[in-house]
């Protein structure tokens, strides 16, 4: 009796999981369908072609790529150094407490705060301010990922390196880094995805620059969604899924090892 009841509960539970996943993935579909509507004479991909001839959008795309790469470079580096500081100085609660704050501050508040901060310093909105606000957003994720891989690294190997005559820097680059580098690469891809998908924080500090996401958001607020914006959203979704696929591939290779 209890056996069957347990089985029914399990079945109900997994049905809930499946249903939730349907609700989570359903919103990824409509942009793709809409992007092929109203194409007129221009052929099936007319809305995609329209993106290429939109100068403002292409400029926003360049900004997105530059900022994304900067964030993917800076966040993991800062996260790695912070994780190392945690280990050396044994101050995990303080560092973790501060780095995780941006996860819990409403996006628009963090945007306002960063904008005021740069205004006070006399730095006008630019690629730099956009990069800064996105680094702060990506950092908690990058930090948690890197802490996790570093926790899996046995410190005794570093001790062994010291005893074999390596100094700290050699021990890090020759013994530890080769083992944790997939985690760092994962943190970089994760940061790139977060940067690429950020809207609200960026929209407060963007000034005259647009990223693809803030362009989409401001177009929605000013004139509504046009068919080529659906094409744009499709591209953004597909690009994100491809990056996530890369992340999954990396993870699978790592686990198999």
């Amino acid at each position: 009796m209890t056996m069957t009841r347990g089985k029914i509960a399990n079945l109900l539970g997994w049905s809930l999981v499946a249903l939730v996943l349907v609700f989570l993935y359903a919103p990824l579909v409509p942009p793709a369908i809409n992007s092929f509507r109203d194409v007129g004479e221009g052929g099936l991909f007319a809305n995609y072609a329209a993106i290429l001839s939109d100068d403002r959008l292409m400029a926003a795309g360049r900004t997105s790529v530059i900022v994304g790469l900067l964030v993917a470079l800076i966040s993991p580096l800062l996260a790695l150094l912070a994780a190392e500081a945690v280990r050396v100085w044994r101050i995990p609660r303080l560092v973790l407490g501060v780095i995780l704050i941006p996860l819990f501050v409403p996006g628009i508040s963090m945007g306002v705060a960063t904008a005021l901060f740069f205004q006070t310093l006399g730095i006008s909105p630019s690629l730099l301010t956009i990069t800064a606000v996105q680094v702060i957003w990506a950092l908690p994720f990058a930090f948690l990922i890197i802490l996790t891989v570093m926790a899996n690294f046995d410190p005794i190997q570093r001790e062994a390196a010291y005893m074999s005559g390596a100094n700290r820097i050699q021990a890090f680059f020759e013994v530890e880094l080769p083992q944790i580098h997939p985690g760092i690469l994962g943190a970089a891809i994760f940061s790139l995805i977060l940067s690429f998908n950020e809207t609200i924080r960026t929209s407060v500090v963007q000034g005259g620059q647009n990223t693809v996401q803030t362009y989409l958001w401001s177009q929605y607020q000013q004139v509504g969604l046009s068919p080529n914006l659906h094409a744009l959203m499709t591209i953004l979704i597909v690009a994100t899924l491809l990056l996530l696929g890369l992340l999954a591939l990396l993870d699978a290779r790592q686990t198999r090892r």
Binding site: I108, T199, L244
Partner: protein, 292 residues
């Protein structure tokens, strides 16, 4: 030898201390300056240093107070709905799944979280519209004769948008604390004669609370300070706290925006400090932090 040791220690302090200081300044600096500016006065399109409470007075009165109260209610109730979904999901993943499948299934919940939620929210407005697939489908099957009006521009739509935006990420901290529970404690409870329900209520649930509360704060803050979901799915006039900040920004009233942001940040910090005081964080983060 001694000076070599000292200089290497100094080099290490610089290499590790500089980035750490940069991080602290970049995160805490903006929040501190916001608090300062929240006491300033707006003059025309600019602002002037002052020690005035007028921004707070403007926030805690009239329609903005209504928005604050509504945001608190929406934040709390949405967080409860998110927990009711995220907890069973995390529980099943932590206790009923083969180890090899845990990461792939968790990954399934990370994917939608990482796709821009503004884009996903646009999709919901499309899916739920009067001529959208949901209404068309319901009418084709004959469940309803006319398009359902409460699907879009309603509380239903806002909650749906909030839950799909923030719930997926809440699975992770809950799963983390559930998977960290020592199996022997559960077995001990069984051996002492407790049934599965009592074991869950008295052993598993309390031990998973650090993750549950962290997830709840994340979901609450997300919903409380929301801008996009309320604007896209709530319809005209549906405002959450983030929208009040946005409209203050639209009139270039930075001091007011700073005051509202400061209230949100202080509320959140109070929740986090409370959380850190009540729970032993090693329960949640032991896995991540390793031996430190």
């Amino acid at each position: 030898m001694r000076s070599a040791l000292n200089s290497s220690r100094l080099a290490r302090a610089v290499v590790l201390g500089t980035p750490l200081a940069l991080i602290f300044v970049l995160i805490l600096g903006p929040l501190a300056i916001t608090l300062v500016v929240s006491f300033w006065q707006k003059i025309g399109f600019s602002m002037r240093p002052a020690m005035s409470f007028e921004n707070y007075a403007a926030f805690f009165s009239g329609t903005r107070l209504d928005v604050l109260l509504r945001s608190l209610w929406v934040g709390v109730s949405a967080a409860v709905v998110m927990l009711l979904l995220a907890y069973p999901i995390a529980y099943l993943i932590a206790t009923r799944l083969r180890t090899a499948l845990v990461r792939p299934v968790l990954f399934l919940f990370a994917v939608p979280f990482l796709v821009n939620y503004v884009v996903r929210t646009f999709s919901w407005s499309e899916l739920l519209s009067r001529t959208g697939p949901v209404n068309t489908g319901l009418m084709a099957v004959g469940i309803t004769e006319r398009p359902l009006d409460w699907l879009l521009f309603s509380d239903f739509a806002v909650y749906l948008g909030l839950v799909t935006a923030y719930m997926p990420f809440m699975v992770f901290p809950i799963w983390l604390s559930l998977s960290g529970i020592d199996r022997r404690l559960v077995e001990a409870s069984w051996m002492l004669g407790e049934g599965p329900l009592a074991t869950f209520r008295r052993v598993v649930l309390p031990l998973s609370m650090p993750g549950v509360v962290a997830a709840a704060i994340f979901g609450f803050v997300g919903a409380f300070g929301e801008v996009a979901v309320s604007q896209i799915l709530g319809g005209t006039g549906y405002q959450l706290l983030g929208n009040t900040i946005q409209s203050a920004l639209n009139t270039l009233d930075y001091p007011l925006a700073a005051a509202i942001s400061s209230v949100a940040t202080i509320l959140m910090l109070a929740l986090i400090v409370l959380w850190a005081r009540i729970f032993d964080l090693r329960l949640l983060l032991g896995k991540i932090m390793g031996r430190t």
